[in-house]
């Protein structure tokens, strides 16, 4: 029986993970290399084993085994194959298995690297990875089992159980409930895997950090070894966030892209600490500072990943107060408390050998600006964390449930994001170690003046207030970044006589992290333009109009042409309106806002008609209509200026991350070469 098989494999993997963690720890403590070797094999095996189990679930999903509760809940006969496969992460139990699957893939991949020079890290990396894996497997096996089935007892009762109760017969409903229609969107199909990939790959740098603490080899070797893992984790997490926000824009029908919902914040928090970490490790590599702080950041990131997995799985969409409703809540909090406590204990134990190797001299030096960057990221994290836990805290102390909404986050993070943008402009031009207002001023005056000129131009065009500040910051970062690129290219061009395009290519190729990082900064700036556009300049209108009548919004007019209602073979009733969009009386095109009604789940879904240009989106929602379509229909129209810069910026952002994370020709050799001057005897 497939369900029994899949479940048994999970149990075996769970036992194996616990064995592996134990054997690795024992092998390291008793200096018994054979045990470590055995633990390594155990970790390698977790991936093929969990694959078997995950494939079992996929098989059950694709073959419509509705006697399995999970399959019943997330699929139905009318769903296409690709949706049945991806329904694996359409519900809590399946997505936890999926999490384990990805985790085991990364864990197995880590065992395959060359360990010769870092063999003392190996056992502790295994311990951390396998303990994490065992925790999630334990959740699947004991609490959220995707293999439980429906049974009918001899007494006629319907029950849910893993194994056949005495005398009971299995029940197989003819059709399942189907995946939530809101989740049947390409963005939502790849959004969870991206987010999860980001989550699980952060476990690897964390496990190296713990290994460094346990073994006392606390130079920056662990950071160099995990640099690429961290970038890959960050890449996937960023991609997950961007896809999620695109999904919200396309599907949720409120013309927005980010709602400060606890689920969004849960995925955003590890991104914040991860970003701070990516910045501050550079200071440790360059200057030997921030060693303790980097350990704190990676510990925070790991526990926020666990917290995020919990939050994103505790309620499908409406996450308002979904905290305590899941049985796995206390287990998650227990695990977070345990790992956080043990990690901090280890950090304190190694506190003295993690002393900084130098000191900071000047408030305006590069390292000092990185410190302020970290403080701002921590500030945004504090805002997010406070917002999420505030209802719980206020209830505890005042007995009164008090919540904070999006205005709270917008008001308190706005200045912090602005501060980060400002630093993004200053820091690339600040010198290391000694930097004074005079030297810094000399470095930045050209791009600074250029950005001021742009501000004057925008002011004349009538832009004021926060928008003007935002545009100035965007211009400022853009000019600084381009200036940096220009300086580098010109220097190469003069020195080696390379042509400018070649010089640009070689510049980026030789120092991928730096110049990839600058591309990421440009991506952020483009995204900021989109955010400014939609947050400050969005306008909307709504109304009911008859055929031939128009709604006007600024320069635009939306004219209602016709409406058709029909049933589709996949169980939807579709009401599709045809509207014309024109600008200043000039016809631009036709849009088809529609409403799909899913019979199975009795849920309507609003799909906007969008006319997209780099300048703006005209986003039309069909709100309501009379059964006889000549009577009229109600539309809501949004004008979202600059919104596509947000998506373009996301694309540039991901591109920059790829540049920064792209493997070097010979990574091992590269690492050896760069790490030589760092591992100076007697320093640790």
């Amino acid at each position: 029986m497939i369900p029994t098989f899949g479940y048994s494999v999970l149990v075996i993997t769970f036992v194996l993970a616990i064995y592996g963690a134990g054997a690795a720890a024992a092998g390291a403590l008793l200096r018994w290399p054979v045990w470590v070797k055995s633990a390594r094999s155990a970790m390698l095996l977790t991936f093929p084993l969990i694959s078997l189990s995950a494939l079992s679930i996929i098989y059950l999903l694709v073959t419509n085994h509705y006697d399995v509760q999970f399959v019943y809940n997330v699929t139905s006969n009318s769903m296409p194959y690709y949706l049945k496969v991806t329904a694996l992460w359409g519900g809590q139990a399946g997505s936890l298995v999926f999490w384990c699957w990805l985790m085991s893939a990364f864990a197995s991949a880590v065992t395959l690297r060359k360990w010769d020079r870092d063999s003392e890290f190996l056992p502790w990396v295994i311990v951390v990875a396998l303990v994490t894996l065992a925790f999630f497997l334990g959740l699947v096996i004991f609490v959220e089992n995707p293999f439980v089935r429906f049974w009918q007892t001899p007494g006629g009762q319907q029950i849910v159980a893993m194994f056949q109760p005495a005398g009971a017969i299995p029940i197989a409903p003819p059709d399942g409930r189907g995946l939530n229609p809101l989740l049947r969107h390409p963005g939502m199909i790849i959004h969870p895997p991206m987010l999860y990939l980001g989550f699980v790959s952060f476990v690897i740098p964390y496990s190296f950090a713990i290994a460094a603490l346990v073994t006392g080899r606390t130079d920056d070797r662990w950071i160099r070894l995990t640099r690429r893992w961290t970038l890959v984790a960050w890449l996937f997490l960023s991609l997950g966030l961007i896809l999620g926000s695109r999904w919200a824009y396309d599907v949720l029908g409120w013309g927005g892209y980010w709602g400060w919902d606890p689920v969004e914040i849960a995925a955003f928090m590890p991104w914040l600490t991860g970003t701070a970490f990516l910045h501050s490790v550079m200071i440790q590599e360059k200057r030997g500072l921030f060693k303790r702080w980097n350990i704190v950041l990676i510990i925070l990131t790991y526990d926020l990943v666990i917290f995020g997995t919990f939050l994103t799985r505790s309620g499908v969409l409406s996450s308002v107060h979904a905290f305590a409703q899941s049985a796995i809540g206390p287990l998650f909090f227990g695990f977070i408390a345990l790992t956080f406590g043990v990690s901090l204990g280890l950090l304190l134990y190694r506190w003295n050998i993690l002393r900084a190797e130098g000191q900071m001299h000047s408030l305006l030096s590069r390292e000092s600006l990185f410190l302020f960057n970290n403080l701002l990221f921590m500030g945004i994290l504090a805002v997010c964390f406070w917002g999420v836990i505030f209802p719980l805290v206020s209830e505890l102390f005042s007995g009164q449930k008090v919540t904070v909404g999006p205005p709270f986050y917008e008001r308190s993070t706005g200045p912090l994001f602005a501060g980060l943008l400002f630093l993004m402009g200053v820091a690339p031009l600040a010198a290391w170690r000694h930097s004074t207002a005079k030297t810094l001023g000399k470095a930045i005056w050209k791009p600074f003046s250029a950005s001021l000129l742009l501000v004057v131009a925008l002011f004349i065009l009538g832009i004021r207030g926060v928008a003007l500040l935002g545009f100035w910051l965007a211009a400022w970062v853009t000019f600084v970044t381009l200036y940096e690129y220009g300086r580098g290219v010109m220097a190469r061009h003069r020195r080696s006589g390379e042509s400018l395009p070649v010089a640009l290519w070689n510049l980026a190729a030789r120092n991928r992290r730096r110049y990839g990082g600058y591309i990421i900064h440009l991506g952020i700036v483009l995204m900021a333009l989109g955010v400014i556009g939609i947050e400050i300049f969005q306008t909307e209108t709504q109304g009911t109009i008859r055929q031939g009548q128009s709604l006007t919004l600024g320069k635009y007019a939306v004219t209602y042409k016709s409406l058709a209602e029909f049933d589709t073979p996949d169980g939807r009733n579709v009401a599709r309106a045809v509207v014309d969009v024109s600008r200043d009386g000039r016809y631009l095109g036709e849009l088809h806002p529609r409403r799909d009604y899913y019979y199975e789940s009795q849920q309507p879904m609003t799909i906007p008609g969008v006319r997209s240009t780099m300048e703006e989106d005209i986003y039309v929602l069909l709100v309501d209509w009379q059964p006889i379509s000549s009577q009229g229909a109600t539309f809501k129209v949004y004008h979202n200026p600059l919104i596509n810069w947000l998506w373009l910026g996301g694309f540039v952002f991901i591109l920059g991350t790829l540049v920064a994370a792209w493997p070097d020709k010979d990574p091992e050799e590269e690492k050896m070469r760069v790490s030589q001057p760092v591992v100076v005897p007697g320093r640790v």
Partner: protein, 171 residues
């Protein structure tokens, strides 16, 4: 955080500079969080709580949750005015769990005629999830006419996706 960058060798004056700079940023962040919390805190009340202290919360922005009575939903699609009635549900998750989960609580709320009810007016697009036995979470203020004027409406339908046993089974 200051500790992580400070080392014994650092000159006191130098160190002070960073401590002051760091503290200023931390103070600014703390100010932002505290003032934004004060400006934007919304009390989360049940309908019973709302009725028992109508005076003290007049004009304040609050959040209320209730079970939607399907028969009461009226939607004027011309003017986008949505009117409906909600029944009291307990606010505490422990109470909800004790009474058999959100689905059972919502069902009990709409069938029990002795519950306190509240009329809601919301201007805007009728949400897709608004229907009988859904949980509505409304943000807005209580009018002097005893009607709740919501400017934000969130809906939750717990019964829909994950369910323990299918309602009708075919063998």
């Amino acid at each position: 955080m200051e500790q992580s960058i400070s080392t014994p060798q650092i000159k006191p004056a130098n160190r002070l500079k960073f401590i002051i700079g760091g503290l200023m940023i931390i103070a600014a962040i703390a100010y932002l969080i505290i003032s934004s919390t004060q400006a934007n805190a919304q009390y989360f009340l049940t309908i019973d709580e709302l009725n028992s202290r109508a005076a003290s919360i007049a004009g304040r922005e609050i959040r209320v949750s209730g079970a939607v009575l399907g028969d009461s939903i009226q939607y004027d699609s011309q003017n986008l005015v949505l009117k409906f009635r909600v029944a009291h549900v307990p606010g505490d998750n422990k109470d909800i769990e004790a009474q058999g989960g959100l689905a059972a609580v919502l069902h009990a709320a709409v069938t029990d005629t002795n519950r306190s009810h509240m009329d809601v007016v919301y201007t805007g697009v009728k949400p897709d999830l608004l229907r009988h036995e859904a949980q509505a979470i409304m943000t807005g203020h209580m009018g002097e006419d005893g009607i709740f004027y919501a400017n934000e409406l969130l809906l939750k339908c717990p019964t829909k996706y994950e369910e323990s046993v299918p309602q009708q089974s075919g063998n």
